[in-house]
């Protein structure tokens, strides 16, 4: 069997979540080919070629792919699809955007957000915000799959795959990029961080999120937020952890002033160790926390920072 994995990147660097998607591909088993579609993305190609267990890296370096427009990427992937039984992408916003378009163009169903591989056609995925786990068999000859990275281990990066440059340009010409407004941060990505500290409605305002900075600095942590905090405008959307935001599973997750709504738990309950700081002893977050402390966060946070 042969598997195509589409590399997630920002032209400058390869997103480490791709290493886990390759891990999922290895569970399916077969020859693994990567596709890097981007613009001026040589660094990404170099990184992709080092991913273990990869046979070949296909490269399409063209302005049409600079912003990962779904209309253009889906045509490219569809054109390559004949050679592969499985096509995998990471279930981040880029993959979630173009993959169903690929599936529909190929006239096959998509299996979204898999967290385990049972066999080459049967996969496990959470439904109902993770409150139920479905085992689903694909009846199509070709499988189009997005991979939730919290379910798989990253593969090592000491490989040396063959790089093949393609000159295919698929520009649908029906959409164009206008602008990006990206949050600049020195901290690790939520998806890659081993420690995450998140604030909720209890933080009261955006300014108070600074109370998390010192602790995040000491722990090398990423900073996240609950939907309530994002909806209230405390912090930007890309910090949201939850069913419809980022799904994370760090070694340590510290929830501060977060009550623990179902949709937030869906995004973080696979974390190895969960700490909850909340002044309400009845908050549902305590039901999933390994360590809870009932305290006013405005007193607890400075003390925690000083004692780390």
């Amino acid at each position: 069997m042969s598997i195509l994995v589409i590399v997630e990147h920002d032209n400058g660097s390869l997103k480490t979540e791709t290493l886990k998607t390759v891990g999922a591909a290895q569970k399916i088993g077969g020859d693994i080919t990567l596709l890097v579609a981007g613009f001026n993305c040589q660094n990404v190609v170099d990184a992709a070629a080092k991913i273990n267990g990869v046979k070949k890296v296909l490269v399409c370096d063209n302005a049409a792919y600079e912003h990962q427009l779904a209309e253009n990427i889906s045509l490219l992937v569809t054109g390559l699809a004949a050679d592969y039984e499985h096509i995998l992408a990471t279930a981040l916003t880029t993959g979630k955007n173009f993959m169903p378009r690929v599936a529909a163009l190929l006239d096959v169903a998509q299996i979204s957000d898999i967290i385990a591989v049972e066999s080459s056609d049967t996969f496990v995925r959470p439904i109902y915000a993770g409150n139920a786990i479905a085992t689903v068999q694909s009846l199509d000859s070709k499988k189009v799959i997005t991979v939730r990275t919290t379910g798989f281990d990253a593969v090592a990066t000491d490989g040396n795959a063959e790089v093949v440059t393609l000159d295919t340009v698929t520009d649908a010409g029906i959409s164009s990029h206008v602008s990006d407004e990206f949050t600049v941060s020195e901290r690790p990505d939520l998806g890659a961080a081993t420690v995450i500290i998140s604030g909720g409605r209890g933080m009261q305002n955006g300014e108070n999120f600074k109370l998390l900075d010192g602790i995040a600095d000491k722990l090398g942590a990423a900073i996240g937020a609950s939907r309530a905090a994002v909806d209230a405008g405390f912090v930007p959307n890309d910090m949201q952890v939850g069913q419809t935001g980022k799904i994370v599973a760090p070694d340590l997750y510290i929830a501060v002033g977060i009550s623990g709504a179902i949709q937030h738990l869906a995004g973080m309950k696979d974390s190895k160790v969960i700490v909850a700081i909340n002044k309400d002893p009845e908050a549902p977050i305590f039901q999933v926390a390994d360590y809870g402390i009932v305290a006013d966060l405005f007193e607890a946070l400075p003390e925690l920072e000083s004692k780390l």
């Binding site: 955007n97 378009r101 959470p126 199509d140 649908a172 959307n237 949709q263 360590y291 925690l304």
Partner: protein
């Protein structure tokens, strides 16, 4: 300009779902159902476009058994002009849903199709993108802002690093994210008025599409339970546990 809004009937987001004892599926018997929250945002956006004089007609559509008429009536009460139910008792894959919607798009020729980015039951996040592929339209998924500019629509999208704005040729597909708008509540007079708005029922079989399933649900199990941990009395105790018991900090 016509706007088509496909909506889905799902379990109410406040209800915690239970898995059936035989692990065949989740148990939805006697469960409170509602419009999928993302679909509600889609209706609201379409109605606001009409109020702003951009949209001329808002058509709500749902695919399912008779019970989804309840959600279509709600859409009408929120401001949709008319509704279409495509009737089927089967639970269809997103691809088959998209194929049915494609037929309706061909008939109705909307300039904009706006739908929720995902449903909170199957959590697939597929239908909008698939409909875009089948109709050959551009897609603006996970939208937090939609602005019309001549023959294009600018869609600001919630993406991993922050926000991205795309310009799409019309007709286009938009899928909604949470912060696009805050949906209104239906007023009593509007609920009454909605009862007289047109709702057309069309059997799925009439569309001449092969709707055979593409996936098979083998089993549904409850997630692994997480054991509740301990309540610590002080920050000192917390730091000690994290260092020496959980060993996640040094």
């Amino acid at each position: 300009m016509k706007v088509l809004v496909p909506i889905k009937r799902v379990i109410d987001y406040n209800v915690k779902v239970r898995v059936k004892p035989d692990h065949s599926n989740v148990d939805l018997a006697n469960t409170k159902m509602a419009i999928n929250p993302f679909c509600e945002i889609a209706i609201e956006e379409a109605v606001r476009l009409k109020e702003a004089g951009i949209a001329t007609e808002v058509i709500a559509i749902s695919i399912g058994d008779k019970s989804c008429q309840e959600q279509l009536r709600t859409a009408l009460a929120l401001g949709a002009d008319r509704a279409i139910q495509i009737e089927t008792d089967e639970s269809l894959d997103a691809l088959n849903i998209a194929k049915l919607l494609q037929k309706v798009v061909e008939e109705e020729q909307p300039q904009l199709v706006i739908l929720g980015k995902q449903s909170i039951d199957s959590d697939n996040n597929q239908t909008g993108q698939m409909l875009a592929a089948l109709t050959g339209m551009p897609q603006g998924t996970f939208a937090s802002e939609v602005k019309f500019d001549g023959d294009k629509v600018n869609v600001t999208r919630e993406v991993d690093g922050g926000l991205q704005t795309l310009a799409l040729n019309l007709p286009a597909i938009v899928t909604t994210d949470l912060r696009l708008n805050e949906p209104r509540y239906a007023s009593l007079p509007n609920i009454m008025k909605a009862k007289r708005k047109p709702l057309v029922v069309r059997p799925a079989a009439d569309f001449g599409i092969d709707l055979s399933p593409r996936t098979k649900l083998l089993k549904v199990t409850p997630p692994a339970e997480r054991k509740a941990g301990v309540i610590v009395e002080s920050i000192d105790e917390l730091v000690d546990k994290l260092k020496n018991e959980a060993k996640v900090i040094s």
